[in-house]
Subunit: 212 residues, 2 copies
């Protein structure tokens, strides 16, 4: 293995180990030595890659932000109806939260008051994406006549942040079954009658890989 490749792997192992330790102990109590131990590297190697715990937190949050961008990428779901893309993205997000500690730690690092201001704001990023897709739905006439994108955004963003938070203590909250209950309730109110017939509250195959 060439040197550069080995360095990239070590860095990646440190980011993952940091996410696990942050998720278990919280940022404040997490120690650099637990992180290097979990990553199977020396303290020296840790300091070669990251100058501080703050720098590690930043790397975890950046990687989590990249994951959210991938999950919510507009290209991803191609021609699908915007509301279906929204449903799919919530399934993909909850599925990924379930099995990816980096994403969980990234959201966790962004909470608490005051939020660490140098971390990317994952919830803000998610909210902007939801707003965008709901505006697409509004423009395409996929929303019910008496529902605005802004109203729908309030309910969807608040509920998904709730699922993420509640799921940290009880995984049922981010299960596919809970999301289906939510969408079965909400979609008949959000969608125009014509759009509603084609929507699948359990998500379409585009969202499925994240659930494996």
């Amino acid at each position: 293995m060439v040197k550069q490749e080995r360095a990239a792997r070590t860095r990646q192992a440190l980011v993952r180990a940091a996410a696990e330790v942050f998720a278990r102990d919280g940022f404040v109590m997490a120690s650099l030595s637990s992180i290097s131990k979990k990553a199977g590297v020396s303290n020296g190697a840790l300091h070669f890659h990251f100058e501080s715990k703050q720098a590690l937190a930043r790397a975890v949050a950046d990687e989590a932000a990249a994951i959210v961008r991938t999950l919510a990428a507009p290209a991803r779901s191609g021609a699908a109806d915007p509301l279906q893309r929204l449903v799919d993205a919530t399934h993909a997000l909850m599925g990924r939260l379930e099995h990816d500690v980096v994403l969980r730690a990234g959201f966790e690092l962004g909470t608490g008051s005051p939020r660490r201001s140098d971390s990317p704001d994952l919830r803000g990023q998610w909210q902007m994406w939801v707003e965008g897709v709901l505006k697409d739905a509004e423009r395409e006439g996929a929303l019910a006549a008496d529902v605005s994108a802004a109203d729908a955004c309030v309910a969807v963003v608040a509920a998904t942040v709730g699922f993420e938070q509640l799921g940290a203590q009880d995984r049922t909250w981010r299960s596919p079954a809970t999301l289906v209950q939510f969408w079965d309730l909400l979609l008949p109110r959000l969608a125009s009658a014509q759009t509603l017939r084609a929507l699948v509250s359990g998500g379409t195959p585009a969202a499925a890989p994240e659930r494996t």
Copy 2:
């Protein structure tokens, strides 16, 4: 002032000061000396009332739990429709979160992973109350025919936890206007046609005092 009364006041000042310091610095970083200083009492007085920071956190969480019980008291809204009681309770909860640091700190202490297990679970308490009032609504025929109390509970609990969380960084999320948007969206789906006509998404006067 008799001695007992003075002791009760000191204890109360310490609980409020602890809530303020927990909300500002987080539980882990909060120092007992900042708390006694903010309460205007000596360290000795603090230790007379509370043996540890953990004991202070427990007192904050207990007081927050008592506030939630009061806000959600079934007797409170008397004969009102269960769905109106639910709308009113969400307005009362968000209004109180806005101006009561003890309630905010109580919710905050219950989050994070792992949750401190000896604190009362405020979200669990809120969820049980929401479940109960939605079951009342179901029994009284106030829900739409194709909506179950369980489905409604998922959406309402997740969204209110989301409002609480998002509101910690941006107060707009727990404003009356945001709640009205949410209920205007959700109630036409939740309520039977007959019930819907009487519902006020902005809350009835029973909820108003908490907004002052």
